[in-house]
């Protein structure tokens, strides 16, 4: 069973901003739209704040009024991640209206159900992509999916791989990358077979297709252990986009290694030695977006 969000009381603090921006709008339809959009953003902002997801301070009032006048947008910026669009849904509505001017540059869309008195809001669903303006509420996924999108992924313990305890998301590397790379891998060139190699799909919102993050451990090493961290394009592509950055950070987030793709690089790789209980973070950055993965040996 999926749980909807708990309900969020829309008190005077919620209506304050809605009232302010409502007053800037001449056209009654625009004024109503602005009021409801403000409440939807307030509800999502409160909800995320309550669950310790940091959002960015809103735009200046003038700038916000420009967007409200010229577009139907209700975006909220999540710190270091990007924007989510918060769309109000009224009690009798079976669809959620997602205007085409919000189809780009969003991590996803949250449908926010309001009551007629506008005293209560409930987050009812999350959607990552849209292609039409009217989306049936039944098409939205559980709000739990929002957390999967926003939360840093859990720690991957590499020494557990040696006991074959490997989370499902880490698939056999050769099965998730373009076969042409099998030859390229240093490990194969050296004709070494004593590696565990796994890969998982990662998605950056600034890229149209996912990437594959690869991690490999040398089985023959005792301690320290040789680790390879790699990033590949998804199997349909034969090179990474130029300007993609991969960073290796230590536990205190100090940069240890960095690599940036030039034109048509097939993959990026870090090769290093690590000791038991060492922790590190791999960060993949493209344009304004980034994803992180934490590891412990």
């Amino acid at each position: 069973m999926t749980t909807p969000s708990f309900s969020i009381p829309l008190t005077q603090s919620a209506h304050q901003e809605a009232q302010q921006f409502y007053q800037y709008q001449k056209n009654p339809q625009k004024a109503k739209e602005t009021y409801l959009n403000c409440l939807a953003v307030y509800a999502v902002n409160y909800y995320l704040g309550c669950l310790a997801i940091a959002t960015n301070k809103r735009k200046e009032a003038d700038q916000q009024a420009i967007y409200q006048t010229l577009a139907n947008m209700a975006d909220l910026e999540i710190l270091d991640q990007g924007k989510i669009e918060c769309r109000p849904v009224l009690p009798n509505e079976q669809t959620c209206y997602i205007p085409a001017e919000t189809w780009q540059d969003r991590i996803g869309y949250v449908a926010v159900k309001l009551n007629n008195a506008l005293t209560e809001a409930r987050l009812i669903g999350f959607l990552e992509n849209v292609q039409t303006e009217e989306v049936a509420l039944s098409r939205f996924q559980s709000i739990d999916k929002l957390w999967d999108k926003l939360c840093p992924s859990s720690l991957t313990c590499l020494s557990e791989w040696l006991q074959q305890t490997i989370a499902q998301e880490w698939q056999i590397l050769r099965e998730v990358i373009n076969p042409q790379f099998h030859q390229l891998a240093v490990r194969q060139q050296l004709n070494e077979t004593e590696w565990i190699e796994r890969g998982k799909l990662i998605q950056l919102t600034s890229l149209p297709t996912p990437l594959v993050l690869g991690a490999a451990l040398k089985l023959t090493d005792d301690s320290p252990i040789t680790v390879a961290i790699e990033v590949y394009p998804d199997p349909t592509q034969d090179h990474l986009p130029a300007g993609l950055t991969m960073q290796l950070l230590d536990q205190s987030e100090n940069q240890i290694m960095q690599a940036v793709t030039q034109e048509e690089n097939p993959y990026l790789r870090f090769l290093f030695q690590a000791s038991p209980r060492d922790q590190f973070i791999v960060e993949i950055i493209y344009q304004s977006n980034s994803v992180r993965e934490k590891f412990v040996i």
Partner: protein, 214 residues
């Protein structure tokens, strides 16, 4: 309240306390716990705390207190010790303090006092606080900047070889209430080409429009 919900909440509290960091799963558990607390009668109402003259504001005060309580629970749940008392007692004790705080803020008028509109209010005719009728509302100022197009750039910016679909035209049509589908028919361009162009240009021009406002 059925016993099963109480047990379910206690179990969730244990699971939350034992999950580390800020994982997606922990957030899901917290949401589930708050949902159960809210929907299965876990919270006291504390109506008697409200002074007589504030009775009309009970819903507002209680709503505000509940918002603060939920954030407090999320931040402090790791400090709850089941050996020292029931979870519901722990949160209701805190709710009592928060209620008293909020009542105090109401009494001293430190909380925002604005009207709360309903959907019906928004659909009825309205009065805009236009103190001086010579002053244009912010939205009117924005529209007049778009119409004036001081540097001619709004009209000169359009998707490849489609001067009719220029930024100024799209702004004004959207403001008049035209839907993207209608504009797409009118200009014979697919909705995403129009709306993506519009979104990008709006982001580019917003600071320029803002500069004219000042």
């Amino acid at each position: 309240m059925p016993k099963e919900y109480k047990q379910q909440i206690s179990k969730l509290v244990e699971q939350i306390q034992s999950s580390e960091g800020e994982s997606s799963q922990k957030k899901q558990l917290i949401n589930q716990m708050l949902y159960l607390i809210q929907n299965y009668g876990q919270l006291s109402y504390y109506r008697s705390l409200i002074p007589h003259y504030l009775e009309g504001s009970y819903e507002e005060i209680y709503g505000e207190a509940q918002q603060r309580l939920f954030c407090w629970i999320t931040k402090n749940i790791d400090h709850y010790d089941s050996n020292l008392g029931k979870f519901t007692t722990w949160i209701n004790n805190k709710l009592r303090y928060i209620m008293l705080d909020v009542i105090g803020e109401f009494q001293h008028n430190t909380l925002n006092q604005v009207p709360i509109f309903s959907v019906e209010d928004l659909e009825n005719s309205r009065e805009v606080a236009q103190e001086d009728s010579d002053d244009l509302l912010l939205s009117e100022q924005v529209i007049s900047i778009i119409k004036e197009d001081p540097e001619g750039t709004f009209k000169k910016t359009y998707p490849a070889k489609q001067p009719q679909a220029n930024f100024q035209f799209l702004c004004l049509k959207r403001y008049e209430g035209y839907q993207w589908k209608e504009l797409s028919k009118m200009l014979d361009l697919p909705v995403p080409s129009l709306s993506n162009f519009y979104q990008r240009r709006l982001r580019q021009f917003a600071p320029i429009i803002q500069a004219y406002l000042q």
